[in-house]
């Protein structure tokens, strides 16, 4: 967990980056498109469908959301996800929900966290499964109906959806 032996962490990180190099190299070699961070107008259709079902006509904008995920997941059955936001949580305005979407999972809409102003802040730390390398998206919904989003591409090596 967070309090690890620093030398071990450095080692793990170095290993993960080396692995990322291999994976990236392979993808480049195959001429695969780089995993550009698709903007709201360039989302895969299944993701758009989930957004429409959940949020109707409202489109998430980039910003106010920090999404911490590994660049390379050493274990795709257990990928750490930490989401936080600088949006206010007080009596007038608060964060009503945090949503996790994984483009290439069997369930694209992975989880939704309904929050309240009683929490005093808005963040979620959890562990998720990933079927394969994919964008992971975090969407934050405010009590005033605003939607803010962040996304990151996570490389995986094995199918973690067991």
């Amino acid at each position: 967990m967070p309090t690890g032996d620093p030398s071990r962490r450095t080692f793990v990180r170095a290993g993960a980056l080396a692995l990322a190099g291999i994976v990236l190299g392979t993808r480049t070699g195959l001429g695969a498109a780089p995993p550009a961070d698709a903007g709201p107008d360039d989302l895969p259709e299944p993701v758009k469908k989930v957004l429409r079902e959940r949020f109707g006509d409202r489109t998430p904008k980039s910003g106010h959301v920090q999404l911490d995920v590994p660049e390379v997941a050493p274990d795709s059955r257990e990928v750490p996800v930490f989401i936080e936001t600088d949006l206010p949580v007080d009596a007038e305005r608060w964060v009503k929900g945090i949503h996790i979407i994984v483009d290439h999972n069997p369930d694209i809409y992975l989880a939704g966290f309904t929050l309240s102003r009683a929490l005093g802040a808005a963040s979620i730390d959890t562990r998720i499964k990933m079927r394969r390398s994919s964008h992971v998206r975090a969407i934050v919904e405010t009590s005033t109906g605003e939607l803010w989003a962040a996304s990151r591409f996570v490389y995986t090596t094995l199918n973690g959806c067991v």
């Binding site: 996790i100 994984v102 999972n105 309904t114 929490l119 005093g120 979620i124 959890t126 499964k129």
Partner: protein
Amino acid sequence: MSVTIGDPRIMLPEKIGKDAVISVRALITHPMYTGLSRDAQGRPIPAHFIDRVVVQYGGEEVARFEWTSGISRDPFVAFPLRATREAPLTITWHDNAGATFRQSVDVRFSA
């Protein structure tokens, strides 16, 4: 095949000041089967996962989580809570087979 389920745990910081935003960490033992995997004999393992988590503080619902089997085995979650009063914090985990697991801890302010 027997699978261990349950043992819900809630972890709070050792020291809690009044009105401080604390981190609540919660863990439960559960296989979180997706329904996509097979056992050693090749038979499909039915989907079995926590699909709903309800958090109550002083009897009031303060958060509610909607999960799929995409949450990892032995689900862990951490979230903030403003410790406005000394009161019980209760978390209830529900799974798609109808089982319910509940754990409660007291939020107490440090002297």
